[in-house]
């Protein structure tokens, strides 16, 4: 009962695009962060799916790294968003315009 690789590809592409859409449209930094995570996990889906397809573990290992990196990114990101909130009392990414954007 194996699913054809193309479907995984479609799924991940869809998720990636959803994330991208969120990145481009949302102004709330936290939602932005979630969208980025979505994009990263789309990549992970590819990795796991194709590591099954190709029958080597490289992809799964990379997926583990991907998770770890995503977590670290969130940690840093939350920190930055916190100081952002302290300085601008808002998490709207378009509010912070001390310099030209």
């Amino acid at each position: 009962m194996a699913v054809a690789a193309e479907y995984y590809l479609l799924l991940s592409a869809a998720i990636f695009c959803i994330g991208l859409f969120g990145v481009l449209t949302r102004r709330n930094a936290l939602i932005f962060l979630m969208s980025v995570e979505l994009m990263l996990n789309a990549a992970n889906i590819n990795f796991v799916a194709f590591s099954l397809q190709h029958g080597n573990l490289t992809g799964q290992v990379f997926a583990l790294f991907g998770m770890a990196i995503a977590a670290a990114e969130v940690a840093v990101g939350i920190g930055i968003i916190l100081v952002l909130y302290r300085n601008f009392s808002d998490v709207d990414v378009t509010k912070a315009t001390t310099m030209r954007w």
Binding site: A5, L9, S12, F16, G19, V23, A29, F32, L33, V36, M39, L40, A42, A43, N44, N46, F47, A49, F50, Q53, H54, G55, N56, T58, G59, V61, F62, F65, G66, I69, A72, E73, V76, G77, G79, I80, I81, V83, L84, R86, N87, F88, V93, A96, T97, T98, M99, W101
Partner: protein
């Protein structure tokens, strides 16, 4: 072969060890602000890394044993390869880090979180050194993130400073997006080829069949499935996009001016020199080894990417330099000019001929420019750090008459700026000429013209600063009471090296050329 092999990564290890040592020191005494100790550890670590890198570089690691070298050091089944190119870039990173840490000692002296600052810098440097040696998309990506994550925090390091936080945010947002784009691109390449090691990817592309790596050796996938060129092409384009971010190349350059302007100036120096070099080394290796343009052209389907790079290079050069010419603040001008320099270095990838000498020529030109640039640009930004330390304003006019009060530093700055502009008082002249020659070698006239025009243009806005420093009369009263030792040492050292790179450019270019040949 270095024995044991893992010692070949000594440059990276030195950084990492120093970073951990700093954390330990901070754990021993959490609220220490003893800059001498903390900064000392950091500087020592960077110098150690530099020493290791240079020693290995001239110890012939990566040069085949037949030619008196000790061969490349291969670790983790080819995931990391320490060869001449890696060591070349490790040298760049280490020297820039040494300068930056040295200069930071004065910059963060009053700051509460010094240990964190230094360890973040060193961790990022560790990532850069690893990135230089990464021989696989997997290790490349991990090292890439190890470079990025600390730098996000570093840019936003001045928590109370709105500019710094905003810069950090923007840097982080764009960085996060581009790294996920990179990850997705990698996943597509893996989907197409079934492997991530650069040489294996190359084999897959050449043979047109999905490969797999069985304990270190590349072999065709048992199923014998063929490589999906379309998927591969999309993947390559996305990888270019992801890397363009770290190189601060158009169209992913938006963060650069913001981040460089908002960040603490030593960090701007660090990012614009070392981080950029790191971005380029992975690009060089990936596109030289993993996606050989010749094979791609034959097998067809996938993009021939050097056209993409030509467009990127020209666009980056023009946008960077013209934007720089219109700036009103010195730091931002430098930021944009560093975008422009990214364009120059991109020539290294844009003026390729399939393989052989043409490739070595263009890439080594890019590498040489990165090294020279590493010193002159770091020095320039460190001068900005000095100005900020003195409370000099950010606009050109605020630098008026600075030459009277701080002749040495200003002389150094003059050297940096003219060298950046390509006047032959610094290595910048030769590296630019080297690039110029690389473009003519493949008779890419558009690139050559862009290079020349932009160099001429850059002279204009660089000399604005020089004019302000030496010729203009000081406006208003400015008192410079202290002359910070660390910053001065770093700046003067950078200036001296920049000048010495005129007679010494020969070594640089030869090592670079050799390194690319050996890829």
């Amino acid at each position: 072969m270095v024995d044991p092999t893992w010692l070949a990564t000594a440059p990276a290890l030195a950084f990492g060890a120093a970073a951990l040592l700093l954390l330990l020191a901070d754990s021993v005494d959490p609220d220490t602000t003893n800059t001498t100790v903390l900064g000392g550890i950091a500087v020592a670590g960077s110098l150690g890394s530099l020493a290791a890198a240079v020693y290995l570089l001239y110890g012939g690691v990566g040069i085949p044993t037949g030619e008196g070298g000790t061969g490349p050091a291969v670790l983790f089944g080819g995931q990391l390869v320490v060869d001449q190119m890696a060591l070349f870039f490790m040298t760049i990173v280490a020297s820039v880090t040494a300068l930056v840490t040295l200069a930071s000692m004065d910059y963060v002296r009053e700051h509460a979180y010094q240990a964190e600052f230094y360890s973040l810098v060193l961790l990022s440097a560790t990532g850069m050194s690893l990135l230089a040696a990464a021989n696989s998309l997997a290790t490349g990506f991990v090292a890439f993130e190890l470079v990025s994550l600390p730098s996000y925090a570093l840019v936003a390091f001045l928590k109370k400073n709105r500019g710094s936080v905003e810069a950090g945010l923007k840097y982080f947002l764009i960085g996060a997006v581009s790294s996920s784009v990179l990850a997705y691109g990698i996943s597509l390449v893996y989907a197409a080829t079934g492997v991530m090691r650069f040489d294996a990817v190359a084999t897959a592309i050449q043979s047109g069949t999905v490969q797999t790596v069985v304990d270190g050796s590349v072999q065709a996938q048992s199923s014998g499935a063929s490589v999906q060129m379309s998927i591969l092409g999309v993947g390559i384009v996305m990888i270019i996009g992801g890397l363009a971010f770290k190189m601060a190349a158009v169209p992913f350059h938006f963060w650069a001016p913001e981040a460089y302007e908002g960040a603490p100036a030593p960090i701007s120096a660090f990012l614009s020199s070392a981080s950029k070099a790191a971005g380029f080394v992975i690009a060089f290796r990936a596109f030289a080894v993993a996606f050989p343009i010749g094979a791609l052209a034959e097998t067809g389907g996938a993009v021939d990417w050097f056209v993409v790079f030509q467009v990127l290079a020209i666009a980056t050069m023009f946008i960077g330099n013209f934007a720089a010419a219109t700036q009103e603040t010195v730091k931002r001008m430098l930021a944009y000019s560093s975008v422009g320099h990214a364009g120059y270095v991109l020539i290294g990838l844009a003026a390729l001929t399939g393989t052989g000498d043409g490739m070595s020529l263009s890439m080594s030109a890019g590498m040489a420019h990165l090294l020279v640039y590493g010193f002159m640009n770091t020095g320039a930004f460190l001068f900005i750090a000095l100005a900020e330390y003195w409370g000099v304003g950010r606009r050109f006019e605020d630098y008026n008459g600075l030459g009277k009060q701080a002749p040495v530093a200003c002389a150094a700055m003059t050297v940096f700026l003219f060298s950046l502009a390509g006047l032959p008082i610094g290595g910048g002249f030769f590296s630019k000429f080297y690039l110029f020659q690389a473009t003519l070698n493949v008779s890419a006239w558009s690139l050559a013209a862009a290079l020349v025009i932009n160099s001429a243009l850059s002279l204009f806005y660089y000399s604005r600063v020089v004019k302000a420093m030496w010729i203009e009369e000081p406006t208003g009263e400015r008192t410079i009471d202290s002359y910070p030792t660390g910053l001065y040492t770093a700046i003067v050292a950078a200036a001296v090296i920049t000048v010495l790179l005129i007679p010494g450019f020969g070594y640089v270019s030869e090592v670079a050329f050799r390194a690319v040949e050996l890829l």
